[in-house]
């Protein structure tokens, strides 16, 4: 048995009143992909932070390459060859892709001065080796989350790495990118590099992992080679109970019969990403919007909610266009929009759970101009119960909750006010299996209550498992639609990779 590259023994981390890590032991051997699983808040990121020197443990020992070490800061860990891809992107939005990738290996040119040209060149080659095409001199904040994540991954390929840690890298990427990532990981593994991999997508675990370790509430549950485990066994270890069925039963087909569609989009063109999109969503129906990352799904959602412009075509709610289209109006018309960027455009991290829930509907908890705090607290507690959010009180800072619970709060916010249409962009991004199941149940219930639901997701199993109908996009155009039993990963992929239909361009020329 090879000597482990990393060996943690009885690691403890204590924050005032909470113990994210409770005597956890964990090791990685060279040339293995070691998956780290657990619910939201189980302590996975905390563990990675300990390994990467971002936080210092209160107890236990870290053995790296046979020597006992004590990182004083991330720099020391990096210099020793440990590279961590953190759950929260560690990028500089104002700076270029190239500079972010080579952040601490900046190439020097004449007179030992940094050379932007050289930097760009090297970045290009790295990105190529990863198999993605992002402009090295583009600014990070111009990129979609997905592309930003790929940049973060590219950083791991710079300099000499002995231990690579990826904390939920696939939360914001899908399909093609994930395959590219896994190719890289296999390649690195073959070079004898140890890899720690964290994800809430179990199918990925079977795809890439050699060994699995499960944490629960900061304690070690168990560790085993992947081939000894079944899906249900893993889930059981994580959530501590059996979960027989992940997806709720779909609606009976008769929703088709219902009256006109709630949402009617025709030949929508918006921004530089959405070129020709037409789709309907009926009451009580869950429509999946599938496609490769970068296909423009989010921009479609943005346009429907009144954030992105409608350059061409029409959007109708209940048969009428939305006048003065902007979020406040959309909200007034009963549209809810759960965005893909939870922290950036969803939550007010510094504000209370209650405040977050009622942000778009203050009037519901107000008497005249004043907020009725008593009423707000009561109603908030009701919501928290209904969505079983794990929070001490409704006046807790949302920032202090784990990813899954934050997502549930967004759900309770939008489902309260959305009585016609609910748009979900990556509804289960970064959410653990247990929470996922609940969220799926909630979504289905909402649909059964007659809400029209448009669900963007990059997780094909999710799309397949939840959608009554699936609209597939590629390069900003709808390339196909599947319903009922035709909904399979293959049928969706078939359209997702389809060449864009040039005809629509001609149409737009004509229109313009």
């Amino acid at each position: 048995m090879v000597e482990p590259v990393l060996e943690l023994t009885l690691i403890e981390k204590i924050y005032p009143g909470v113990k994210p890590l409770d005597r956890v032991s964990f090791d990685v051997v060279p040339g293995e992909v070691h998956a780290l699983l657990g619910e939201n808040g189980a302590g996975k990121s905390t563990l990675t932070n300990v390994i990467g020197g971002a936080i210092r443990p209160n107890g236990g020992t870290i053995k790296y390459q046979g020597r006992e070490v004590e990182w004083r800061n991330p720099r020391e860990a990096r210099d020793a060859g440990i590279h961590v891809i953190h759950q929260e992107l560690a990028l500089f939005p104002e700076l270029t892709v190239a500079e972010n990738i080579l952040v601490d290996h900046q190439p020097r040119g004449r007179l030992g001065l940094l050379s932007a040209r050289e930097r760009t060149r090297q970045a290009k080659t790295i990105l190529k080796s990863l198999g993605i095409s992002i402009d090295p001199s583009a600014r990070i904040d111009e990129l979609a989350l997905a592309d930003q994540q790929m940049v973060e991954i590219a950083k791991a390929l710079v300099g000499e790495v002995k231990l690579l840690i990826l904390d939920e890298p696939t939360a914001v990427i899908s399909g093609k990118e994930v395959d590219l990532l896994f190719d890289r990981m296999r390649h690195l593994r073959s070079q004898g590099i140890g890899i720690v991999y964290i994800s809430h997508r179990l199918e990925e675990i079977f795809d890439i992992a050699d060994r699995v370790t499960v944490l629960k509430d900061g304690k070690l549950v168990g560790s085993a080679p992947v081939e000894e485990l079944t899906r249900s066994r893993m889930i059981n270890m994580m959530v501590g109970r059996e979960i027989t069925q992940i997806f709720p039963a779909k609606a009976s087909a008769n929703t088709e019969a219902a009256e006109g569609p709630v949402l009617r989009v025709r030949n929508l063109a918006s921004g530089k990403r959405v070129r020709d999109v037409s789709l309907d969503v009926r009451a009580g129906e869950i429509v999946g919007l599938a496609g490769m990352v970068g296909s423009g799904r989010t921009e479609v959602a943005d346009a429907i909610f009144g954030i992105a412009p409608i350059d061409h075509g029409s959007i109708e709610l209940d048969g009428s266009r939305i006048a003065g289209h902007r979020p406040s109006v959309s909200i007034g018309r009963g549209i809810g929009y759960l965005t893909e960027d939870r922290k950036g455009s969803g939550l007010f991290l510094d504000m209370s759970v209650a405040a977050n829930i009622f942000a778009p509907a203050l009037s519901d908890v107000s008497k005249g101009m004043l907020v009725d705090n008593g009423r707000e607290r009561e109603m908030a507690e009701g919501q928290v119960k209904a969505f079983s959010v794990a929070t001490p009180t409704v006046s807790t800072r949302v920032g202090a909750l784990s990813g899954g619970n934050q997502q549930k709060i967004l759900f309770s916010r939008w489902t309260r006010i959305a009585d016609r249409l609910l748009i979900l962009d990556e509804p289960t991004r970064g959410v653990d299996v247990g929470a996922k199941v609940e969220i799926y149940r909630i979504i289905r219930e909402l649909a059964e209550r007659g809400l029209a639901i448009l669900m963007i997701s990059s997780e094909l199993p999710e799309v397949v498992g939840m959608s009554d109908r699936v609209v597939v996009m590629a390069h900003g155009e709808v390339t196909g639609e599947v319903a009922g039993d035709e909904i399979t990963e293959d049928s969706i992929m078939h359209f997702a990779v389809a060449a864009p239909n040039r005809a629509s361009d001609a149409e737009r020329e004509a229109a313009a």
């Binding site: 924050y15 005032p16 009143g17 909470v18 113990k19 619910e39 808040g41 509430d217 909610f305 954030i307 979020p327 406040s328 909200i331 007034g332 929009y337 965005t339 950036g344 455009s345 969803g346 939550l347 007010f348 991290l349 510094d350 504000m351 405040a355 942000a359 778009p360 203050l362 009037s363 107000s366 101009m369 004043l370 907020v371 705090n373 079983s388 794990a390 929070t391 001490p392 009180t393 807790t396 202090a400 909750l401 784990s402 247990g434």
Partner: protein, 322 residues
């Protein structure tokens, strides 16, 4: 999940840092007051306390306004210049009977509101950085003021203006009463009303606020209007205290008001802070200046002590860095 639950509850209760964030400045203020009382018997004299508060009142009003500006990730450098401009405006009526005082207030508030609109528009609609926008209005007001007064404002003021500083209602100094009313109004607006909630939303995460149907632009503009109006009112009360109009009434209030607010826990990164906290900051500031005077320190010592205490007070409050 229940594990996390209890854990989190304990976290809430035990967070020492949290307690400190809440009560740090009060502790500091208590210490300061004790020191004051011990070192200078005159300090606790009722008249002296009234003096201290009388001087605190106009600054307090300005700080209340400043707090709104800072809450939406900005700051307002034009307050001092506006105070002087309002003071000059008060002379424009060339009136010597008190009947015009209400008129003066109305005029001052209107002018201030317009200045606030200009600041807000530049910042919210034109995306000018608050620092430069308000700096520019500060300079422009200054110029306009001088141009109007030809450098030397006439000081024909209704005698009643002095009452704003020295008068009492039910034994309470008028300016304190006014400050109290303003503070309550601001407090309710900020901590109880829908608009207040929206202000915090915009301060915490403008994009999310927008997606939740709030207009960051409108809220921002509102905050700068409030800032200016408070400054305007503060200007009139300071004028009452000074007695004569000069082009520099309120000089230095722009930085003092920011320091007071920040010492009081209003975060320059926006979205965090309360009216009460900001006012505590004011008290600390004025107590310092009064104390160094009572102790009869020479000017140079006063400067040093002030500096140290300002940093010390803020350190107690553990401000988050930008």
């Amino acid at each position: 999940m229940t594990e996390v639950d209890n854990a989190a509850i304990r976290r809430e209760g035990m967070s020492m840092a949290g307690m400190f964030e809440k009560y740090g400045l009060i502790v500091f203020l208590a210490l300061l007051l004790i020191i004051a009382a011990v070192t200078s018997p005159a300090f606790l004299g009722p008249q002296n306390l009234v003096n201290v508060l009388t001087i605190a009142a106009p600054l307090g009003m300005v700080v209340i306004g400043q707090t709104f500006a800072i809450l939406v990730r900005g700051l307002d450098l034009s307050v001092a210049s506006l105070m002087a401009t309002v003071a000059v405006l008060a002379t424009a009526f060339k009136a010597t009977d008190d009947s015009v005082i209400p008129l003066i207030f109305v005029a001052a508030i209107i002018l201030s509101a317009m200045v606030g609109l200009l600041n807000g528009w530049l910042i919210a609609k034109r995306g000018v950085s608050p620092f430069l926008a308000t700096l520019a209005t500060m300079i422009i007001l200054q110029g306009a003021r001088f141009a109007y007064t030809g450098g030397a404002p006439i000081s024909t003021l209704p005698p009643g203006m002095a009452w704003l500083a020295s008068g009492r209602v039910f034994g309470i100094p008028v300016n304190l009463l006014a400050l109290g009313i303003l503070a309550v109004f601001a407090g309710v607006l900020l901590h109880r009303s829908r608009i207040g909630r929206q202000i915090y939303m915009v301060g915490t995460n403008p994009r999310a606020a927008f997606l939740n149907g709030t207009s960051p632009e409108r809220i921002t503009i509102l905050c700068y209007v409030l800032s200016s109006v408070c400054a305007g009112i503060g200007g009139l009360f300071l004028l009452g205290y000074v007695g004569t109009v000069s082009n520099w009434v309120g000089q230095g209030y722009e930085l003092d008001s920011i320091v007071a607010a920040v010492m009081g826990g209003v975060a320059l990164s926006g979205g965090r802070g309360t009216i009460v906290g900001a006012l505590l900051g004011v008290v600390v500031l004025v107590v310092i200046s009064n104390l160094v005077l009572l102790l009869g320190f020479p000017i140079e010592m006063q400067e040093v002590i002030k500096g140290v205490i300002i940093i010390g007070a803020a350190a107690f409050y553990r401000q988050r860095l930008m």
